[in-house]
Amino acid sequence: MQIVFEKPKALSDTPTHYCPGCTHGIIHRLVAEVLDELDITGETIGIAPVGCAVIHFNYFECDVAQAAHGRAPAVATGLKRVNPDNIVFSYQGDGDLAAIGTNETIHAAARGENITVIFVNNAIYGMTGGQMAPTTLPGQITQTSPYGRDTKTAGFPLRMCELLATLDGTAYAERVAVDSVKNVLKAKKAIKKAFQYQIDGKGFSIVEILSSCPTNWGLEPVKALEWLRQNMIPYYPLGVFKDKEVSR
């Protein structure tokens, strides 16, 4: 019998705990495919965040360290500085990276740490049940903004890629989405580049992936992807915000 399709070797056989329609599964697969293609799973250490991906160590076949909430880039820094031969990536949600961990993220980028950050932005705190996050869109309804985010009291969303692109230590910052086949393929390309930059020692790289949260958005999976397209992409434009290779 001829095998025509295989799951990536860097992905374990464990069924994930993610909600139906959640795009973490797609993003896990993309990361795993990249680990396979670059043949780096054996030397890679992932950082599990606090958030929905907190137990991603069950799904990736590489070593994983668990960080306190928001501390993933600092943990990644410690791992990478002591053992620069390892490939180190953090996998963080917006409630982790763009809230409690904003400081760590900015400073890891400013120091030009040679790490890869996979940033999954679904504009909400998913694991705690859908509260307003710093990335929640103006007017977006959440558990703590039942009439929509009011920018007069809750301010405005953080655009992390644009922010990090201003830092000299950032080698690569790109925002992608996983709302369509075309965009999923683009997302994979970006993830691969972010890992390749680390292998080449270029410095801090981040891929922000616009993702859906059907459960906490209260939408069916397909509608959630439409919502992402219609609402998130206009606020969080896709594209490359920093690429050291290109700007040279």
Binding site: V50, V54, Q66, A68, H69, G70, G95, A99, I100, T102, Y125, M127, T128, G129, Q131, M132, P134, Q143, T144, S145, P146, Y147, T153, A154
Partner: protein, 375 residues
Amino acid sequence: MTKVFDSGNVACALAVKDVGVDFVAAYPITPQTSVVEKIASYIAEGEMDAKYLPVESEHSALSAVAAASAVGARVFTATSSQGLLYMHEILHYAAGGRLPIVMANVNRAINMPWCLYVDHQDAVSQRDTGWIQLFAASNQEIYDSVILAYKVAEEVQIPVMVNYDGFLVSHSSMPFETLEQDKIREFLPALNPPWRLHPQWGGTFGNVTPSEEYVPYRYALTEDIKKAGDVIVRCSKEYERLTGRWHGGHFETYRPEGAEYFLFSMGSMGKEMEIAVDLLREQGIAAAGLRLRIFSPFPEEELAALLPTGAKLLVFDRNLVYGSAGGALLQLAKAALFNRRDSLQVIGISLGLGGEDLPASVLVAKAREMMEVCK
């Protein structure tokens, strides 16, 4: 008075609404989150006239709440576990600043490894931050303790943490009664702090001090928190006169008459202990339940006065003092009885960590094991 059937977190949020809090800043963390969700909803629906600030971390939540308190607002925040640990620096800041903050801490185990379920390591590890710490064991006690906490905090100018067990209490629905606005106002008048950060009042907040200025602040805090235990009991009695509701003073005792063994614990375990005491009594053992309501300041003299001659204190800690025989309650109880009641036997264990189930049968078995050692 309205009868409600809802979760411990809703009981907490309702008390915050009924008290008339001006300012809430919070960051979501399990199992606390539904407290601040509910408060955000009250504010959004216009049922509560307060400002709600979603911040990016617990460190900022307590910092913002402390600042709002310093300008004279009645404030609230809630957290759990890692969130409380992340607040550690500001816990000291708030107590040192003598700010009458009230915070709910929904007890949850701390990392590593990660665990979402109850134990008391989070609160116990913040013992020496200068906060008053209450432990409630039912939804009614949560509602009443939050109101009591404001009364006490505003009288003694020390922040109060109201603890209750994650999931077991926070997410369990139980019947409880609220309190009418006029009665709340009678018990807890509008906040009128002796000092606030305002240009008209002059002064600064939290200056750098040389040791001769620093020392009196530290001693004043320890002296005042020591006296706060009696203030809590006095206010609890006043609350009882108003509502008929009584959860105990420093302790809640269960079947103390003629007891030889006192089963000492706090949190929801103290309620389960009542069933354990009944079972032990059926077995002919003179057991009593002793549930601690005020963890900080620990009621040293009251514990020493409460135990009869020949009593044996069996301590059940839902926390660990690493490398020690038991947990924080065991150490505190021993320290309280040393030189006061040296003849009494005190023995303890740590159990129920990370949400380990503690049915009465387990508590009975553990009590009997300790009784064997006492003999």
